[in-house]
């Protein structure tokens, strides 16, 4: 008669937990009212908007605007109800913890995964059902009113986008909830989810108006990957120890500084000792990130090279011999071979690395790598264009890139790897410490690499770029 909850399987018990929560949601008018409104009334409003807009633009001979507006509204109709999933998830995880109804569940033989999955399903079910119903109502409306039927692929794309966005928001909400003890604090932190998702929806809208629906597939894949990463992180954080070990939401700056400074100094007694630790301990830990960053930056170069075939520059723009003639004047105008020019180059590179770090913090390091890929892509693009005109691209690379790249490329690889490591620390944190502590230690690791290696390399690379590269370029390209 008796069985352990764990032995009842992951899904039956998860559905049991989800079922209770969904019934509870359906008894709560604060959740029910917006869902009903967004499911039934909002699509009708969007229908009206679509009809009026199509009539208006057709009158002025621009039917394409209407054609693009209808799929966009289809996506909007799906997005609005799923935004409630964020509220439900915060309520389900942080709210239950705040009301202290979570502990009786934690005291049962339920596994963490059963409870986590149950709550995930409960947070997704009602908003997704509302979103699908809203899309259905909208489609009936546009079919009846203006005879528009969606292409099957577009409909699948919108349904997948809607689902992926909901999963990302809910998984993100779990991560946020695990770091707070109150719904209020969780709601404040929820802006970390809602702002990027809003930006994403704006981006998707532009893509839809632009008519590049293929890009949406990439977004769907990226969203599901992010959802996978976040759900893994959520599962890691949603455990009894994390949930009950945290009692208060107090920003302890002194503690934070203590953890960061301790990890940054790492018991070093002198600068030499510190550098020894950096080279022998910190850098070896980065090897997988270093490898990944190197591959990505190299890929950036080849992508740029590939793009040169599609978007070729006029041949005389990349004529190295012709370029060599005016190099001296160009270098003077750019302020090269001056101390001011050196500072300008160094400052520019520091800003780029800083921006990469900032973007990397919010994207698990991904956007940092994307940003660092850009200059490599540009070099690949120019090298490709040089090759297209029958010239030797090595001449271009050796004359204009190689001297300072010997220092700048290692700096970029190290910076990218350190940022990537920082992002990975948030996704796959080690056991035995809070997320904040782990992140602070990873940030200290990033600071060690940045201050100890990246900054000196950038200073040297800047000097080479300003004082050496121009001379090499003049020598190789103009013979002077």
């Amino acid at each position: 008669m008796r069985q352990q909850a764990a032995s009842q399987g992951l899904f039956p018990i998860a559905f049991h937990i989800a079922g209770r929560e969904i019934r509870d949601q359906l008894r709560d008018w604060r959740i029910l009212t917006p869902i009903v409104a967004l499911t039934l009334f909002f699509p009708v409003l969007m229908n009206f908007t679509a009809r009026e807009a199509v009539n208006f633009v057709t009158r002025y001979g621009a039917p394409i605007v209407g054609d693009r507006l209808i799929p966009f509204l289809l996506m909007v109709v799906g997005f609005f109800p799923i935004s409630i999933s964020l509220v439900i998830a915060l309520e389900s995880f942080a709210g239950e913890r705040e009301r202290q109804s979570l502990e009786p569940l934690l005291a049962t033989p339920l596994t963490d995964a059963q409870l986590y999955l149950g709550k995930l399903l409960a947070s997704l079910a009602s908003p997704l059902a509302a979103a699908y119903l809203g899309i259905f109502v909208y489609l009936i409306g546009v079919t009846v009113a203006i005879g528009w039927r969606p292409p099957a692929l577009l409909l699948i794309q919108v349904l997948l986008l809607t689902t992926a966005q909901a999963v990302v928001m809910v998984c993100g909400a779990v991560v946020i909830s695990s770091q707070t003890t109150s719904v209020r604090a969780a709601n404040l932190l929820a802006s970390f989810i809602i702002i990027p998702v809003s930006q994403l929806v704006i981006g998707e809208s532009l893509i839809m108006f632009w008519g590049r629906y293929t890009i949406l597939w990439w977004i769907v894949i990226a969203l599901f990957l992010i959802a996978l990463v976040l759900s893994r992180m959520g599962l890691h954080l949603f455990n009894r120890e994390e949930l009950l070990g945290r009692e208060i939401d107090v920003v302890d700056l002194r503690w934070g500084w203590h953890v960061f400074a301790g990890a940054f100094v790492d018991d070093a007694m002198s600068v030499t000792d510190w550098y020894r630790g950096l080279i022998t301990v910190t850098i070896p830990k980065l090897w997988s990130s270093l490898a990944m960053t190197s591959v990505v930056l190299l890929a950036g170069f080849f992508i740029g090279d590939g793009l040169s075939n599609r978007f070729a520059l006029p041949a005389d723009w990349v004529n190295l011999d012709r370029l060599g003639g005016g190099l001296g004047d160009a270098f003077s105008q750019l302020g090269l071979m001056t101390t001011r020019g050196w500072w300008w180059v160094v400052w520019n590179n520091i800003r780029a690395v800083g921006l990469a770090a900032f973007l990397g913090m919010f994207s698990f390091g991904v956007l940092a790598l994307v940003l660092l890929m850009v200059p490599f892509g540009m070099i690949g693009y120019f090298a490709g264009n040089v090759a297209l005109t029958g010239q030797n691209p090595l001449r271009f690379l050796v004359a204009l890139v190689l001297p300072h790249a010997m220092l700048e490329v290692p700096a970029a690889v190290l910076a990218g790897a350190a940022i990537l490591q920082l992002g990975l620390a948030a996704i796959s944190p080690p056991e035995g410490a809070s997320l904040g502590e782990r992140w602070l230690k990873a940030a200290a690791g990033w600071a060690r690499v940045s201050l100890g290696l990246v900054l000196p390399l950038l200073l040297l690379a800047g000097a080479v770029e300003v004082f050496v590269t121009p001379r090499v370029a003049l020598l190789l390209l103009s013979g002077s």
Binding site: A107, T108, P109, T111
Partner: protein, 332 residues
């Protein structure tokens, strides 16, 4: 009473310690919430973990319920190691949390059915147990109300029913009557007292001294994560407050009463018509004293033990630990 295990069924006996903890320690960052705690509680008894807020009672309970992992030390609940068999431990434990944590939109039967399924009970079996528990706790009349409509005492009783639903051999009750009005607290205490049975161990965490004294067979005083005193109420009083003190009242003046006291009995205070003395074995001394007084024609009004509360013990024990003297008023 059977406690089903993953691979073997372990028969529980009254003599078997249902709770065994050795050097249990829990550290949160720099804070040691529990340090070197050792316990052994057998079936059929009620243990009160007594201590102020923040003493480490809840953390101890959570470790024993396998909700938190001990930083060091060992604990076995109904024979299961809290680290190695957390699911078995949780199935062997009924936990009443300090806050009832009920889902207030649900009705009691739905609520208990929800937990019954998690514990792997069939719908019918859970139904039978629900009927019995609601009757036992006087909630049968309120079975159609939503839990949000329940009074505080009713909610706590339903939370107790939840803890008992899977018939666990170990009950861990964390502050079961905190913030309750006296009537509700009385009801809940009566329920807890009724849970005593040979195959079951109850641990009650409380900072209510009267509750601990009335309910528990044994009391452990916990302070800053350590158990600083443990024993029955009488043992603790004897250890920390000394031998019992008797008060003799007579109907006349008590001049030279000390001469009636048998050897080995110490007078601690006296008034015109009363006398207090400390005695190790009152059952032997008091009859002799009464006989002597009667023989001397002293009209005795009362001879009774001066009541000493657990509060006195508590203040003494905590005072000792903190290096302060106790604020006790009973001996003069």
């Amino acid at each position: 009473m059977l406690a089903p295990g993953r691979t073997a069924i372990i028969p529980l006996t009254q003599e078997m310690a249902l709770i065994e903890a050795q050097d249990l320690t829990k550290q949160f960052g720099n804070l040691k919430a529990v340090e070197g705690l050792s316990l052994r509680v057998s079936g059929g008894s009620i243990l009160a973990l007594l201590g102020p807020n923040g003493a480490g009672k809840t953390t101890t309970i959570r470790m024993l319920a396998s909700i938190l992992r001990p930083s060091s030390g060992e604990a076995r609940i109904a024979g299961y190691d809290v680290r190695q068999h957390p699911a078995d431990v949780r199935r062997s434990v009924g936990l009443l949390t300090e806050h009832h944590g009920l889902y207030t939109r649900m009705r009691p039967e739905d609520y208990l059915q929800f937990f019954g399924r998690i514990y792997g009970l069939t719908h019918d079996e859970t139904g039978r147990r629900i009927g019995r528990l609601l009757e036992q706790f006087g909630l049968a009349e309120a079975r159609d109300l939503r839990l949000g409509e329940y009074s505080k005492g009713m909610r706590q009783k339903l939370a107790l029913a939840r803890a008992l639903l899977h018939e666990p051999p170990v009950l861990l009750l964390d502050e079961p009557t905190s913030a309750m009005d006296p009537a509700s607290a009385h009801l809940v205490r009566a329920c807890i007292a009724g849970l005593r049975s040979p195959g079951r161990t109850v641990v009650v965490c409380t900072h209510n001294l009267v509750e601990a004294e009335n309910l528990a067979d044994e009391i452990a005083i916990i302070h800053r994560g350590r158990i600083i005193a443990q024993g029955t109420s009488a043992e603790l009083k004897r250890i920390y407050l000394g031998d019992p003190i008797m008060e003799l009242r007579v109907a006349s003046e008590l001049d030279g009463a000390a001469r009636f006291l048998p050897p080995g009995v110490t007078q601690v205070a006296a008034g015109e018509d009363w006398l207090r003395f400390r005695v190790a074995h009152p059952e032997e001394v008091n009859p002799r004293l009464l006989g002597a007084l009667s023989k001397a024609g002293v009209p005795v009004v009362t001879l009774a033990e001066v009541p000493r509360s657990l509060e006195d013990v508590y203040l003494q024990v905590v005072g000792n630990v903190e290096g302060k003297g106790p604020a006790s008023a009973w001996d003069g």
